[in-house]
Amino acid sequence: MSTADIIARCEALYEDLDFTAARKWKEADPSRKVIAYMPVYVPREIIHAAGMLPLGIMGGGDGLEVIHGDAYYQSYICRIPRSTIELGLSKRMDFVDGMLFPSICDVIRNLSGMWKLLFPGKYVRYFDVPQNYRDDVGGSYYTNELNELREGLEHLSGRKITDDALRASIAVYNENRRLVQAVYGMRSREPWKVPSSEVYLLMRAGLVLPVEEHNQMLSEYLAAAENVKASKRDNCRVVINGSFCEQPPLNLIKSIELAGCYIVDDDYMIVHRWLRNPVSTGGDPMQNLSLAFLHESIATAAKYDDKEEDKGKYLLEQVRSNAAEGVIFAAPSFCDPALLERPMLADRCSEHNVPYISFKYAENSGQMQPIREQAGTFADSIKLWS
């Protein structure tokens, strides 16, 4: 398969607002269950070990006409919750058996309660995470939370989730993490071969496909991409930060590259890259997941930085290790975590002479002109003066 074929499949999955692939998966066996989750991070291993399909929901993008969703949100709230409500009310998610709302911001948090009110009878869980990183404090709290999730899912399926199953699932996801890193690594080395829009679509596919299938897809893509003939363009290298929840429209990602910027790292769909290293497959799996969260998580605005000097460390590391020439802070409009975090990160960039720009978007932004303008000017200035 060529990269084009793989990407065509991904694009179809991406545009399918009815989640046909996930529906088919479920229909294949009546005992199957689908558990949807919102950004940013959930331990998909537990869902997988329960024999269920974790389904990532990233809002409705620019392809969904939002009618009822707007009726639930004021104009000054970001887009993703309203398009998610639209997906729910328009029955596009009727096959979903449960919904996880990770702890990320007040909007998603409150959405969990709205989901309970709107869809009584469904399994709905607000999934809190520790902001305290001591094993005996935050760690034991989180292990208990994980166990509650485990029990909830057991209850839903009527089946025990064994430790062995969990260890096996952790292994599959470790493989997924490895492949995802490989794709990111390849893009960083040869961005002209691996356009960001393709990387993006590949990752989107991972939200709706069973992980085994995604692993296969990633391997095939990596092999195919080696053979791509494309020549290097006169672009600058940038890291995108702030897009961890509501996703930009695909056109925006394309526009950034068209305007002369190679994206060499980003924080789109960070559920795939949340844990930087493999999770241990021995011992107590729940504890392993908990410890991995405490000590291996990447930094993001939805997390508390224990020490002041740690703020921005991860971003600067992304810049350094990918030889990026600048940072683009691209946050969804009205996104509290991203927008409150930005001034602190921007200060860190300035302190280290990393040029940056920032803009806001919405998942359904139609006007790319201002984006091209800004990304283009950024690229121009790096290009003309390097």
Binding site: D62, V66, I67, D70, Y72
Partner: protein
């Protein structure tokens, strides 16, 4: 006779309805709000009384056997010719105002050429356009003098300016400067005289001769009726600017609810899209508002949006709908910021999309926003009434029907040609109840 008046001071248009003590609508009047609010209220009221007078004439004529079967024809002719009289009169006013405005250092030395050009433009307007505009079969682009005179002024002006060797911008500027003054002057003159003059022209136009004597008496009778303005209620966006005491002012939400109820008693949901607001209203079986939602602080997706688009395309508002109806597909438009409408349109044109398809997309975008507002107010319950200026736009209506069907199934949808008067109708009924039922 005693009359009850409701005035809806909208952001774009001001509407008035005159009602009798039985709740029968006698007349409706409309004018542009883009002028002094007091004047707008006065003008719309005057127009409504003119219309009421026509109703009285109709009532009288219907008693006359000699004109049986021809009343509609006579009234249509009478209305048209009356408007023509008004048009010519206002044109004269505009001409004088324009000429008076040619002064100051900006025009030093060029006054004569400019005045000459203006005179020529107005001569052609009067001689060629008045007849064309008010010919029995003519389709007029708008009901407002500003638009009627304006669009032709632009075309004629461009030619005349070229011939006279002066910049067209100068003439355009004279027009912009003067039209606002003219609009701020309520129509003058003796209405009855205008009716009589118009009647003369009707007689001339009618295909077969009419019994002049038979017509005289009923028309005189109708013209002699003394219409007394008993109680006025104001509503609408600009209602706080009306020089009325508080008890003469009602919220436009209530007026729209009641107005829609009077037109369609089974209505439960009302959508009103006006110049800069969109309202979703739920009413009960008595026309009482039980819930409402409206946009505020952002005019995205309101009637004005279409105005910007029409300006950008150099078209009349009346023409947008028909063009959009020719679309073969609809382009998805996500931003409904009114001010960016033009930019969006240009963007899309540059991408090679067709005008009609883009327009269809723009209409859908407005209706999507309206659907959200309705949804926020509690959804659509049978029957559903669509009111406000945008209800005149067939493409908007088409999108609405489709969206209602997709989201709420089969629902009876009411749209009245006079739906723009819904708020004023409700207000006039409040006026009537204040007296008759007090």
């Amino acid at each position: 006779m005693e009359c009850f008046v409701g005035i809806d001071l909208g952001s774009t248009t001001t509407k008035a309805v005159v009602m009798d003590d039985k709740g029968q609508v006698l007349g409706r009047g409309i004018t542009n709000s883009r002028s002094n609010y007091d004047t707008a209220a006065r003008v719309s009221k005057l127009e409504a009384f003119i219309d009421a007078r026509l109703s009285l004439i109709r009532r009288e004529l219907e008693k006359v056997p000699a004109v049986a079967g021809r009343v509609d024809e006579i009234l249509a002719g009478l209305t048209r010719n009356f408007r023509r009289e008004q048009f010519v009169e206002q044109l004269g006013d505009l001409e004088q105002t324009c000429i008076a405005n040619v002064e100051g250092p900006r025009f030093a030395g060029k006054e004569k050429v400019i005045v000459g050009a203006l005179t020529e433009v107005f001569r052609r307007l009067r001689e060629e356009e008045a007849d064309k505009l008010f010919a029995p079969t003519a389709q007029r682009k708008s009901d407002f003098f500003r638009d009627l005179a304006g669009s032709r002024f632009m075309q004629i002006g461009e030619e005349v300016a070229r011939d006279a060797g002066i910049p067209f911008d100068t003439l355009l500027h004279m027009y912009d400067k003067s039209i606002i003054e003219v609009e701020n002057r309520p129509p003058s003159g003796d209405m009855n005289r205008k009716f009589r003059t118009a009647m003369e022209r009707v007689r001339g136009e009618m295909s077969s001769a009419l019994d002049t004597a038979a017509l005289g008496a009923p028309i005189d009778a109708a013209l002699d009726v003394d219409m007394v303005e008993r109680y006025v209620v104001g509503t609408g966006y600009g209602r706080v600017r009306l020089p009325f005491p508080k008890e003469h002012i009602r919220s436009e939400i209530l007026c729209h609810g009641l107005g829609a109820h009077l037109m369609y008693p089974k209505t439960r949901t009302v959508l009103d899209i006006g110049g800069q607001d969109t309202k979703g209203i739920q009413i009960d079986e008595k026309g009482i508002v039980v819930n409402f939602q409206m946009n505020d602080r952002c005019a995205a997706g309101t009637g004005r949006y279409l105005g910007y688009v029409a300006d950008e395309m150099n078209m009349g508002l009346h023409e947008l709908g028909p063009l959009a109806m020719k679309a073969t597909k609809s382009i998805r438009i996500n931003s409904t910021c009114t001010v960016f409408a033009g930019a969006e349109l240009r963007d899309r044109l540059a991408l090679g999309d067709k005008r009609e398809d883009i327009l269809a997309g723009l209409h859908r975008a407005i209706m999507l926003r309206a659907m959200s507002i309705i949804s926020r107010s509690g959804g659509i319950t049978d029957e559903f009434t669509f009111t406000g200026g945008v209800a005149k736009n067939e493409a908007a209506v088409k999108e609405l029907r489709q969206l209602v069907k997709e989201n709420y199934g089969e629902v009876k949808i009411n749209i009245d040609p006079d739906s723009i008067y819904t708020g004023a109708l409700g207000a006039s009924e409040f006026a009537r109840r204040a007296v008759v039922e007090a």
